[in-house]
């Protein structure tokens, strides 16, 4: 077994080179490179934790905003409903009032027209009597040649018209 049979000849060389190599590993790799690698691992872990915390905060904020948004929306809808029902009520009232006013105007106009109509009718009726009397007098004059006064003719027309 060379490990034991050669031990006296080789131990110095083995110790010497091992101490050099292990020293280099310990100081340049263990204390030089390893801390940098661990630092980048820590930095990544911290970044991930920070990002997660930020995302959690943003989520909570969004939840809050959603809640208040829903409340705002509800209030606005209520307000809009109140406004629209008030406007409807007002419009109905206005329409009633205008309708009533128009009714009144129309009925006065109707009454005036009726009055004018009856007056005109009366006037026409009296006109007809005169025309009829004149016509009767003319007819009498043409038929019999007798002269009838308009008073006599009017009297005769009146008598006929009242009879029939």
């Amino acid at each position: 077994m060379p490990q034991i049979s050669q031990i006296l000849e080789t131990y110095a060389s083995q110790f010497f080179w091992l101490l050099i190599v292990f020293g280099l590993i310990y100081f340049t790799i263990g204390h030089g490179m390893l801390p940098k690698i661990e630092a980048s691992m820590d930095a990544r872990d911290r970044k991930i934790a920070d990002d997660l915390a930020a995302a959690e905060r943003a989520r909570a904020e969004a939840d809050n905003l959603g809640d208040s948004g829903a409340a705002d929306l509800k209030a606005a809808r209520n307000e809009a409903q109140a406004k629209s029902s008030a406007a409807k009520a007002k419009a109905a009232k206005d329409a009633d009032a205008r309708l009533a006013k128009a009714d009144a105007e129309i009925s006065t106009k109707v009454a005036a027209s009726e009055a004018a109509l009856s007056k005109a009718t009366a006037k026409a009726l009296s006109g007809i009597e005169t025309v009829a009397a004149e016509a009767a007098a003319d007819i009498v004059a043409k038929v019999s040649g007798a002269k009838v006064t308009s008073a006599q003719a009017a009297k005769a027309v009146k008598a006929v018209m009242s009879h029939g």
């Binding site: 490990q3 060389s13 083995q14 292990f22 590993i25 790799i29 263990g30 940098k36």
Partner: protein, 261 residues
């Protein structure tokens, strides 16, 4: 490697051969094949870590692998020592990665190049002993630094009955002092035994193919080859497990030193 008379020596792979002679203060510190593989391990480890240094926010595959190992060691120390364990991450990471890379480097198929064979640094008692001493020394230094002489209370567990006070500390002291030996021997034995087994099976395959009788390759070489595939996979698993065990035990021992049970 074939020795004399066509035999395959499964121990040859552990032989240390000097590649360049070097003397320092009267000691022979020649650059050997073992030193070469340590340098290779250092290079491979450096390359691996360099690939993970991009420091992207969204890691690529390589960065993910490096961060996975770093996070694994970090997690091991925080779970066994607590938040104070972060201080020892560089040490345990260096131990873990050095052992893991050395184990894997010894499994690389460099043997396909004639005259080259892989060398497993961690299959040498001298290496594992130094690693165990580093681990155990850290425990002693941290323990006495943090707790002073109170560190000896480690040998008196909570709830020890007064009439056992003469025995329990003795047992605890022995189990404490045996730690570096068990750390060193476990790694050394596991790597040596696995590599010897693989070499023996490889010898079966090659010697069976070279045999005169035609039935030998069929009966010996093919089953050995199939078994060897399984053993190789198992050995790769052992490479990772031994590195993990070394790192885990080191972090548990550091826990003793930091928290005193």
């Amino acid at each position: 490697m074939a020795g004399e008379s066509g035999k395959i020596d499964p121990m040859y792979q552990f032989k240390i051969e000097p590649l360049a002679q070097l003397q320092l203060a009267g000691y022979d510190v020649s650059f050997t094949n073992s030193s070469l593989f340590m340098i290779l391990v250092l290079g491979a480890l450096w390359l691996f870590m360099w690939g993970g240094m991009k420091r992207d926010l969204v890691p690529g595959r390589w960065q993910m692998a490096v961060e996975g190992v770093a996070g694994f060691v970090n997690n091991m120390l925080t779970s066994s020592v607590g938040p104070e364990g972060k201080k020892y991450v560089p040490l345990v990471f260096s131990l873990f990665m050095f052992i893991l890379m050395a184990n894997f480097m010894g499994m690389m198929p460099f043997g396909i190049v004639p005259g080259v064979h892989p060398f497993t640094v961690t299959s040498h008692l001298t290496i594992t002993a130094v690693l165990a001493v580093i681990s155990f020394g850290t425990v002693l230094i941290v323990g006495f630094w943090k707790h002073g002489l109170h560190f000896f209370s480690l040998f008196v567990p909570h709830g020890t009955p007064w009439w056992l006070l003469w025995l329990i500390p003795l047992i605890e002291l022995f189990s404490f002092l045996i730690r570096p030996f068990s750390l060193a021997l476990r790694l050394f034995v596991a790597m040596t035994a696995g590599h010897v087994l693989m070499k023996v099976l490889a010898g079966f395959v090659i010697n069976g193919l070279n045999a005169e009788a035609a039935w030998v390759p069929l009966v010996v070489s093919i089953p050995s080859f199939i078994l060897m595939i399984g053993i190789t996979l198992l050995e790769l698993l052992v490479c990772a497990i031994q590195a993990y065990v070394f790192a885990l035990l080191t972090s548990l021992y550091i826990n003793d030193a930091v928290n005193l049970h």
